[in-house]
């Protein structure tokens, strides 16, 4: 007796005995169940912690709400934000922070090349460079805030060399300068390791051949090293740009609280301010959605740019 499974039987192409269909379908079903069970935890986590919050944020962005009461306002939150000059000022501040991207990549590149060439004590430096990554943003922020305080060590040095102390956190330019320094310091170690992994994939024989051909250090760097790790550099650049738009909150929160005025307020800090400090969750969510779309678009643009440069 055969049982219809609704699935076409496999052709007995090789003329052998067809496999027992019942056993096969049971096995397949079981395999499918196992596969589903295997991905279920990840699926549940992705749905619960990624899809649901994003969908909920989009839902909130069309409402005026304080988290409890919801009033549908359509695109009201978006238009309100887009007509608010503060948004453009804050966006401009975020653009200023982009200056950290080439700096951090340059420093990371130099460090990774030095590590790759195994300079004396490279193992120690590899650990040392990574240390900022195990420190929390709050700790790094407080450290830089203390260092650059009016009566802090940096100003003590300035005074020792005959200069006038600078109130770094009282002005937009100097405050942003300190935050960028903190960003570079905290980020270059991790980026160095990413670049180092790219460097490690280059065939050492290429370098040996270049040395035999008389290529110097700079020549090797420009003609062999950089072209071979360009994809990693692209990845690092994209990560840094994303970081600049989405992950400055901790530094800003600890070092300047977005001040003076709104001079160091970034998009992610503004989202927080709108959503929680001002009880305008709808506007905060609308801004979060706008930043999300902007970042997505920017990433695609970067990929396209680097791809065309590659070609």
């Amino acid at each position: 007796m055969t049982v219809s499974t609704g699935v076409s039987p496999l052709p007995a192409s090789r003329g052998g005995t067809p496999p027992p269909r019942r056993g096969m379908s049971r096995w397949r079903r079981r395999e499918r169940m196992i596969a589903l069970a295997a991905v279920a935890p990840a699926l549940i986590l992705a749905l619960g912690f990624m899809v649901y919050p994003v969908a909920y944020a989009i839902f909130i962005s069309f409402h005026k709400t304080n988290g409890l009461r919801f009033e549908f306002v359509g695109l009201g939150n978006y238009t309100k934000l887009l007509t608010d000059p503060l948004l453009y000022k804050v966006f401009g501040t975020n653009l200023l922070f982009l200056v950290s991207v080439p700096i951090v990549i340059f420093v990371a590149l130099v460090c990774s090349v030095l590590l790759y060439e195994r300079i004396r004590g490279w193992k120690f430096y590899r650990v040392l460079f990574f240390v900022p990554n195990v420190l929390s943003t709050a700790v790094i922020g407080l450290m830089f805030k203390t260092l650059f305080a009016y009566s802090g060590p940096v100003n003590a040095l300035v005074v020792a060399f005959g200069g006038e102390p600078v109130d770094f956190f009282a002005g937009a330019g100097t405050a942003i300068f300190v935050i960028v320094l903190a960003l570079v310091w905290s980020g270059f170690g991790y980026q160095s390791l990413i670049l180092l992994s790219g460097l490690s994939s280059i065939n050492p024989e290429v370098f040996e051949a270049a040395v035999l051909d008389g290529a110097g250090w700079w020549r090797r760097l420009w003609s062999i090293t950089l072209p071979n790790i360009r994809r990693v550099v692209v990845l690092v650049s994209i990560l840094n740009v994303l970081y600049t738009f989405t992950s400055l909150f901790g530094f800003i929160f600890v070092m300047t609280a977005g001040g003076p005025g709104y001079d160091t307020t970034t998009l992610d800090y503004l989202i927080y301010t709108l959503a929680f400090s001002s009880s305008r969750l709808g506007e905060g969510s609308a801004l979060a959605v706008m930043v999300f779309l902007f970042i997505g678009g920017l990433t695609l643009l970067q990929l396209r740019f680097f791809r065309s440069a590659d070609e």
Partner: protein, 439 residues
Amino acid sequence: MKLSRIGAIVAVGALAVGLGACSSDPGTEGDTTLTVWDPGLLTKKTDDGAVADNSFLNIAVDQFEKDNPGVTVDLVTLSGDISKDAAQFQAASIAGNGPDVRIGYTGGNTVDYADFLEDLDGVFSDETMSDLSGWNTVRAGYAEDGALLGLPYGGGSYFYVFYNKKLAADAGLDLSTPPKTWEDLISLGQQAKGKIGDAVPFWTPNQEGYVGAWVMAALVGGQLGPTAFTDMYSGKIPLTDPAMVAAYEAYAKPYELGLTNPDAGSIGNSEQLTGFVQGKGLFMVSGAWENGALEEAMGEDAGVFPIPTLAGSAYPTALAGGPNVSVSITNYSENKDLAKKFLQYLAEPATIDQYVELFQTEPSNSASADTSVITNYYLKSEAEYVSSTDAVVYPFDNVMPQSVIDLFYRVNATVYTGQTTPEDAVSQLQDAYKAEMAG
């Protein structure tokens, strides 16, 4: 196979029993935990973070736990940063995992969170309601029939100028009679400049803009009277009123004239008292909440007088400040009855007397208070000013919606250092107010 299945079932069962044993069941055990959040208004810590001996709420909680066996009060101290603590409370309330009892500031800091707070009408006896003052500062919309959102605690903190007597003597200033106007005060600062060593005439840590909030309350209140900011809240007076501009201009003068610490814009409020006690400044604008710590650190070596008003003010002896502390119950609390019992205990005149005695920052708001518990040198002096004032001005940042208050603090800091003009500041405030009111 069978054995492994049985083993797995046994393991899961054991785990479930273990977890069950770990969890507490208040219903069956009779133990209840009441969570209280305090931003440092009713608690005190020592420099090394330990609970201070005179931390009122810790003592009150110990007593409450003794009186109510099986009850544990989990006292959580927040950062003390008004905006951050408000944000934290809102986020926790949306998630439904905030405290049972929230201690905050009266006015906007309580009223704005009405959606998360229990209406306390009926919680207190008629006797208590008539015995205590300040209820209007914690009612929704500040209306007499608005929902009662908190228990006002204490007779109110007012804003003052404290001065270092030794530095005043060094500068040759006689402050036995306080300056009558803000202009006189600045003139005193100018006289002191250069005669007080490394100290500055006005010690001003103003990164958060709080000093601005206190000075503005006095300067605007002096011009417009006790309803200055409630009238702005209700829209009777615009926030761009010339009185606001004039007040901002005068408030920024000390920095403009080089009479303050140069880093006024980047030093936070936490350094206010420390710096003053260390002798970094002749004058310090702050409030009565400094009384206890100031007496502890300086004894009677400092003096105090109200923030003077602008020359020509309609209310020349206006005093800014008012009820400051509000104790509320969250509407999502699972221990509302116990929380109400806790508030009733706090509202007892004897408990408030204990608060006054321990903190010495403000008098009691109970009509049947024991005034003999006031021993603080500064609080005694302040009591005289409170009794002789011609107007008590409830400040801007106790009245306005939280978003406008946040902006107010920001522009206060930047107006002071000249980064924002007074006209621009009031215009921004008016826009924020309009946006908030338009919903």
